[in-house]
Amino acid sequence: MKKTFKSKRDHEDVLIKKLIQGDPKSFEHVVEEYHNIMLSVARAIVGESIADEVVQDAWISAIKALPKFEGRSSLKTWLLQIVSNGAKSRVRRENRYVPLEPENNPNQRDSFDERGHWANPQNQWEDNTPEAILANEDLKQIIEESYQSLPALQRATLTMIDVEDMKLEQVCNILDISASNARVLLHRARVAIHQNIDEYQGKKDD
């Protein structure tokens, strides 16, 4: 365990040195690795229209600040803090209002009756393991599209927790939300995607 951690740190140290030297392959690698999650976070905080700009600024700040990076956190967390801080100050500076996300996702059917029993249960899934889902190209597409249709804050939360495997505390810090809020957002995001997969599985039976 310890060895793995050390190698990851070493790997990051090497990457950072190369970035400071201006190695193009390293720039490409680091953008490929982290641009998506940075964009996700920016969109959640400042909305879509200026998110690209905010992320651009964050990248530039980060590259400039790289020589001072002490490695107390991972590179990913450090980058996300830069984006988050940049996004939050844009919000303050411009008094930007990002509309509150709807309570429930639209199209969320009422699955339960007044007694809390299943009224409209999910289908049986032919592809009912992660492996089966991943082997199905239609489903991978459905996941990708459902993800992209999620409200920005749900999407960012899902990305950070399920895709990027980040700790809840970091997520709350970066997105400026409470732990219970984060858990609700994560759940809603998963449910939305589940629902689309379920619809597909239902049609498959027909």
């Binding site: 996941i143 895709v163 759940h187």
Partner: protein, 82 residues
């Protein structure tokens, strides 16, 4: 006794191990008996795992290579200005 609606609302917390012991046991007992809830939790869990593996991307028109190149140029430009 918890009902199916309550189980579904706590499904993610259950999957992620974020529940106090008694709640966790209540759900465990419920899904032992209730096939639909057991199925729902399995499906939700598979969904979360599949999402993690698919690693879906934000919808964007720009690609990593172009961004990296632009970034590199901007940084070189800044360096030469000092």
């Amino acid at each position: 006794m918890i009902n199916c609606k309550e189980v579904s609302e706590d499904a993610s917390n259950y999957i992620d191990g974020n529940l106090p012991l008694m709640k966790r046991l209540s759900i465990k007992l419920h899904i032992f008996i209730c096939v639909r809830c057991r199925q729902y939790i399995e499906q939700l869990s598979s969904t979360a795992t599949a999402v993690a593996a698919v690693k879906p991307k934000e919808k964007t028109s720009s690609d990593a290579q172009a961004i990296a190149q632009e970034l590199l140029e901007k940084c070189k430009k800044t360096k030469s200005e000092h």
